[in-house]
Symmetry: D2
Subunit: 356 residues, 4 copies
């Protein structure tokens, strides 16, 4: 008996794209990686060397029209996420799109609209943390009522300092630190606070600094920022994002409820080893986002493939990806202008403060 | 040889006053507790039973004029801190005043002014955390350059939920959660960011909720709040205060610098015991602020007494207490009005955003 | 291009066998699970339901003679490990045998002898911990000289209490708690102390109790035991094994060197979640050996398959499995007789103490 | 009102003696330090400079006959503990003697015998860990039944490596590593297993090495050792002692019961600070036994003084000190001879194994 496998393509072979491609090749039993595409010749050379039996294309259109293709993992630059996702949807392919769908809510919404016209397709934005076993355990415990009503949410996405200047160049296209990093935390806030309509935002405010990389100011970005998000019905999220961690990737979350608190990763650690040495006891920290969440990426891929093959709903609503970008972009704006931004009950911007 | 001992009085015998009195009685070798005062007859009865050899007064004036008295520890209600401190100063006594000096910067300043007229006296606001050995270790490491330039400061003062409703009644006089709780974190931010003038605040904004005690709204207070403080020269503090921790007192601080990060108490713990039991591994958490910082209170008393006896400068500038209240009160106002509050270069309120 | 896959069979479908079978089916990209065998009809029913496309046999002989079979994973009862391993070797199959090869060194040696007659085959005893990323990190750090000369080794294998009485019945066949549990720790000691001949044992002594399950005495076993192993050249291992952990699986190791110490899992934890609740802060612990080491089992399978397909030496010498059983069986004997057992320079038992 | 204070003398002003003296001078409110004695002129000079108002003697006899003296803290070299304790008892003084009473059970017993002739006096051996708040919390939890019946006890006393060679010279008089270090762990085992007669030892065995200091062999000592103690009624203690910790003082204990486990200090830490830096997250460890247990020494002194002044029984039975030395000395002997040592039901040595 031959088990049917989903025929998958990966668009983009940058840092994340390479990992997604290898993931589908090696770690997703019900998927077969059939094709990849990238405009970069070096990346195509890498693909020919490392992805045996997989078609390698220069143009995304070639990938989308591969004869056996059933699903696309969009892992290209953020700037083309939305158009590639829409092109795949219109060609009748399932889509798993790396976060964010776009750097604006408006463009993100065009992906939702396209998906709405093809309801038979599975379209999901890859908020990888939802597939991490620690976050899942915390969410299950919160759902079970262990901490009462989740009321205050603190979360951070903090990258290790990359002294190469990469993240300055990257800032030009990333949408800024809140859109690039805090989008994960915002998605988690929406997940823990409930996606049933009471997640409406009343205000956001943010401040940011350039502690290590003043060049970011040219792109209206910062290397450290803190944001406050006031939700309706008495809920608050506060978010920290940074590009200058010395020890490694430090992504930490606390969910504070009326009867208890859940934390995820308050003490980051790479593994279970501790080194006792002159100066004290030391442990290492994951160096990158991938190091921290590589198992979550595998789970995400496996579950997305299951949804496609078994025609089940995807675990993350696509609307959430638009809501998350809207909040992230407002935080980014608040950080740059210094203004607090208000929203009314319909989610529209307003000048007046909503009554508390 | 008889070692000379500082003759100390304690004003107020509420929760903290009792502890201060016992501390001077038992744990400060160079001090002698000679008198206490409190308007509460039950507290005076407690004093007569528990403070052998100590004069017990109803009126603060009696305490101040005790013939041998040299120094006063003001541990009464916040509302009378300033007037009692000033009365002691004017009577020529050294003063250690519990935080805050007052709930407004203006009233706090009157204590500074009184002290300025009696420079021979030691007058200090008791920011106990500065005497905690962990905070001191962190500060010494930061001063030594271990983390580069401190740039982002996160700190929280979170009390265990007291279901008796105590903190609702208390809110009437406390100045609010930022003035009562976050004042510690603000003082720490000023300490770690440096007190040499570059601690000027550019803006504050805050949000708060009443997750467990709606009655707080009557007193314009909240039970959970988050505040952002933007300092000059590219520094940020973000603060969380809460009255609803399930496990105990959770006071945590992170100081993030350009080359590293220092944390204090990211995993609160009462002691070194771990209980392995069905359900996992558990450890207890200090139940109160006193449980967490009792050694710091002792150190504070010992060092204050040393300063008085040896005529050394006190370790915390009195001006800092005013600066901390100013920031705390602004956060409290921002939390209630919803407005972001701006300050100009001279520390005056301003309507316009300072240019970044 | 079709990648060649190793054709694998799994013998035994008890607790571990099921997991091995699913592992090869789903998580080892270069393997294809072609057949399984078990005398138990319920287990065969499970296999038909859960292992699509896989041949299911009653008799091990059928498995070994499956026409496409290239490698066997022996996961049956310990009592038949050796004979099944030898049968596979003699049929020209690669073998990954669950630990221990046998409950005696003599029988274990017969597998080594069989393998020696078929040097083209890959034969490995599955000491899963060597494939765990934390143990590997610790070993790499020790090899790099981070702790000087490893001199004292402490390790424990402690199972969660299973109140069903399973482990009493199991004791009849397991070889006893040192052979069943501590064999892992012994293998690790040999790994960290070096397998180049200086791992010779000079003496062993052990004590054991039946704290929760007196029925174990019938099978000359205990539910908690501690053993001391004195190696040549000034090295000591001390080992603890238990069947009565309340919180979960607690497998901890310390390697103490002349310049530092490495620890693995001194604070067992299931994931990165912490629950703050009345009573303190709690975290969960893996419930079973599989929960703790499931990734290691996958890595073990992947690397064994790589060795078979690419004709590389297996990462664990087969001789080590014999040495480990010899030590474990001596500890078991010492625990039961109360006698300290001595070995001479050739590894033979001796009555006299070797001179130190 | 003048509170009566116990008039205390301290014999010996080495490392520990200095600390005891300062403790009584500064941190024990109900004690007055009146005299100290030491044969060492440098130590007497230190005393004159640092102990204002305290008589400083060369000869212990002078101390004992100080006119106001009521109690002696014996903190001199182990070799004179017993004779100094007995001299004080016979002079009618209360005695707190540093551990061990002596390096043999026989000499230790002479102190017990002297105390038995003066029942009005308080005589206690200073097992400081019993006064540590973490050990006390663990013991209270065990007494409350939290872990069922304590059955296996693991404990270690591990000093930081002192490269000065101090501990080689010290070995000449210390009684050896088990008597000097593990005596604490043995006392704890007796405390947790109960002192009501079911703490009888059936056998001990031990092994030791000289990993860093071969010179210890001259004094029949080792720098790392592991011991097994088999108690009656199905209880085991295993002990590790070391002189070569790189990070600091690492004293860890686990008490494993039939329903749970308590641990003390599985992750040694100096305070609540964590340093995030390139290479990971680091925390410091207490450097010395005093650093780890200084609060316990204060509590010990305070409680001993209370017992003297209030005529209450001391919290540790003096007999326990003899039992602990007996076990420690047997472990030391076993480590050197390589022989397992057996005891019969009366605690006498026996050649034959007692029946289990």
């Amino acid at each position: 008996m031959a088990t049917r496998k989903l025929q998958v393509g990966v668009a983009g072979l940058g840092r994340m794209g390479k990992r997604h491609a290898l993931n589908y090749l090696q770690a997703v039993p019900r998927a077969q990686l059939v094709a990849v595409s990238t405009p970069d010749p070096d990346e195509r050379a890498w693909a020919r060397a490392n992805l045996p039996g997989v078609a390698v294309y220069e143009h995304y259109e070639q990938l989308v029209h591969h004869p056996r293709l059933e699903a696309v993992c969009v892992a290209s630059a953020t700037a083309v996420h939305a158009q590639q996702a829409i092109a795949a949807i219109e060609a009748g392919k399932h889509v798993l799109c790396e976060k964010p769908l776009a750097t604006t809510a408006e463009t993100s919404q065009t992906v939702v609209d396209a998906a709405a016209r093809h309801r038979q397709l599975k379209v999901m934005c890859g908020f990888s943390r939802r597939f991490d076993e620690s976050y899942r355990d915390a969410h299950a415990k919160a759902q079970a009522g262990l901490i009462g009503r989740p009321s205050v949410f603190r979360s951070q996405t903090c990258d290790m300092l990359d002294p190469s200047g990469f993240f300055v160049a990257y800032a030009q296209f990333s949408g800024g630190i809140f859109v690039d990093c805090s989008i994960h935390d915002i998605d988690l806030a929406l997940w823990f606070f409930g996606e049933e309509g009471d997640d409406k935002v009343r205000s956001v405010s943010a401040v940011g600094i350039t502690a290590v990389e003043p060049g970011l100011r040219e792109w209206k970005d910062r290397d450290n920022a803190v944001g406050l998000v006031e939700f309706a019905h008495g809920r608050i999220a506060h978010l920290y994002c940074s590009r200058m961690m010395a020890a490694g990737q430090e992504d930490t979350t606390e969910i504070i409820g009326t009867k208890g608190k859940l934390t995820v990763n308050t003490q980051p650690t790479a593994n279970l080893v501790r080194v006792h040495e002159p100066g004290g006891i030391r442990h290492e920290v994951p160096q990158t986002y991938w190091d921290r969440f590589k198992d979550a990426f595998t789970t995400e891929a496996i579950e997305f493939v299951d949804c496609c093959l078994d025609d089940k709903p995807v675990p993350i609503k696509l609307d959430t990806a638009v809501a998350a970008v809207r909040i992230a972009a407002a935080l980014q704006e608040s950080m740059i202008t210094g203004n607090k931004i208000w929203f009314d009950d319909k989610g529209e911007r307003t000048e007046k403060k909503a009554e508390v």
